[in-house]
Amino acid sequence: MPANQRSFVDEMANFKFSLARSLKLKEVMGYDTHRIVDGPVCSSDLACFGLQHLFRNNLLSPDGFDALYVVTQSPDYLMPPTSNVIQGRLGLKHDMFCMDINQGCAGFVIGLLQSFLLLNQPSVNRVVLINVDVLSRKTSARDRNSYPLIGDAASITVIERCEDATPIHSNLKMDGAGREALMIPAGGMRLPSSPDTAVVEDDGDNNFRAKDHLRMDGSAVFNFVQVEVPPMIEELLRTAGATTEEIDFFLFHQPNRFMLQKLADKMKVPYEKMPNNIVEHYGNASGVTIPMAICHNLRERLLSGSVRACLAGFGVGLTWASMLMRLGPLDFCDLVEFP
């Protein structure tokens, strides 16, 4: 994660809302500090830094993996894929499957699913999954709807076959009819970036943003999560023959504290089993929040032992996915700062 830390209190003056209302928002949503890149840092910069850290500390060998998945919605370029950029910058072997996956909040679960599928190939022994986003660069600093919660970060997950592994259950749903709830309207082929799309204006809700910026329909997303996520988890547990009580931790995507508490209430899960503290420390870095929740809250426990974990990601797409697995013991579970 970037070393550059910003605080909500310092940023409140940028918003066209009374300080009292912004402080109320801080209290309800759990906004405090967030980590965002300082300057034109790209996804591949964070990813290469992280991989080099692993190489340097002998946690991963540069030629020790056969596939590189990069899940991002803030690629370095429209083309080529950011996974190829990373491969080229680090001089990795040619006998390597590089692929970008355009997913966000559900991107960690989707990346794991894809990695597991690829590990069915006899020629693939180890997969490196990178989730990375620098969406602060596409978010208006005058948009109180999105800017306070945005975080930038990358996570690197190394996945390999294990002969005595316990079964992993997963389910995945998508609904493209809700595609406009979370989007960056301009910059693709539908609406190319132009001077017009860069104009920052009041979007009708006292938040100032341009069409080049990320926009989120907060109520629609909240509604979607409360309606779709609990039945998805019920279905997952039912299929796996597990009960809510048997799960040690619900490691969910971290949109904000409020949404996670409401989700826990609805699912009748105690708050201590569903961490909700990532946005207040680091911000919401889309697909990276689940690995961050793991490293921030369970590091010691997972280095020495394991937990029965239910993971879930939900958001842009719309996409929602969950996974039930025994997590740990891990070889490495650290948060590292990008200078």
């Binding site: 309800v28 809700d205 109520s219 909240f222 509604n223 409020f258 209430d265």
Partner: protein, 75 residues
């Protein structure tokens, strides 16, 4: 009754002492996206009704909200 209950809950969300059934919600200074989200969450948790922000666009008063909840619950 439900109407009084909803007025109390709305007053709580808008941080005012009292709301009458016919008060226009948008006339309160605190009626912003956070309040809308709080209303959506309250209606979900307390009445088991999932409202979209679009549903709320058609609601201007506490009375309107009570009617919408009743309609969504099918009674």
């Amino acid at each position: 009754m439900v109407m009084e209950e909803i007025c109390t809950k709305l007053a709580d969300i808008l941080q005012v002492d009292e709301i009458k059934p016919t008060d226009v919600l948008a006339s309160f200074e605190e009626w912003d996206s956070l309040s809308v989200l709080s209303v959506v969450a309250m209606v979900d948790a307390d009445y088991g009704v999932n409202l979209g922000a679009k549903d709320l666009l058609g609601v201007s008063t506490a009375q309107g909200l009570a009617q919408l909840i009743a309609q969504k619950r099918g009674n």
